[in-house]
């Protein structure tokens, strides 16, 4: 019922949302988060970004996050797609889409999944800027976002 994908190729935002909602008239709300690559980070222009991950663990970590969301809220389907490999500004990086009968649960679960993904799923971003390559540092704001959900 839920689906997690790690892929190098682009994903089809519309097809994923459609597939999730299309056949289930009990769904009243679909909330979707799309993360896309920005051309500026920490004040520097970024031309390319390369996303590395830990194959195997990534899928397990995302599955654990999705299972936790399922346990916390009444949901009717979750899709998570995350790209790896080289990316350019405007490229979609990650999609999280959550269906539910009512909007409150869909909003909460969607934000929960992306907040946990940011701190618990083994992905690493390396940026190419005019000054050369650099690994992106983890953000304190992401830790704070995750802590809101801790029980």
């Amino acid at each position: 019922m839920n689906q997690i994908k790690i892929q190098t190729e682009p994903f089809d935002l519309a097809a994923i949302q459609e597939e999730l909602r299309r056949d289930n008239p009990a769904i009243g709300a679909v909330v979707t988060f799309l993360g896309q690559m920005r051309d500026i980070n920490e004040g520097d222009r970024v031309s390319t970004m390369t996303l590395e991950h830990y194959p195997g663990m990534t899928e397990k970590a995302l599955q654990a996050i999705v299972d936790e969301a399922e346990a916390r809220w009444q949901l009717m389907g979750i899709r998570v797609v995350h790209r790896v490999g080289p990316l350019h500004p405007l490229d979609p990086i990650v999609l999280v889409t959550v269906a539910s009968a009512h909007r409150g649960e869909a909003f909460q679960a969607c934000e929960f999944v992306i907040d946990y993904l940011k701190t618990r799923a083994p992905f690493w971003k390396k940026e190419q800027t005019a000054e050369g390559e650099r690994w992106v540092d983890a953000r304190h704001s992401d830790d704070a976002a995750e802590r809101r959900w801790q029980r």
Partner: protein
């Protein structure tokens, strides 16, 4: 045998993505493995220095220094994650 994996900034600093260690009773915790790696000195000492944030997963589950390691385990070291 223990499979060690290194990712991202660590993989580049150490110039290797993986290696294997023969399993020995005195390598039965993550802490013991970290001590062994640190003792190699040079860049190993720097990467695993106490002031560095290194995350560790045993068999693809996040864990910590006290986690027990047994023969055949996969132990991965990496920096804080930055996906999404």
């Amino acid at each position: 045998m223990i499979n060690l994996l290194y990712f991202a900034r660590l993989r580049e600093a150490l110039q290797t993505g993986s290696e294997t260690l023969d399993y020995r009773a005195d390598l039965a915790t993550v802490a013991a493995i970290v001590d062994l790696l640190k003792a190699r000195g040079g860049v190993w000492g720097e990467v695993f220095a106490d002031d560095q944030t290194v995350l560790v997963a045993v068999n693809q589950e996040m864990c910590d220094l006290s986690t027990v390691v047994t023969d055949g385990d996969e132990v991965a070291f990496f920096p804080p994650v930055t996906g999404g």
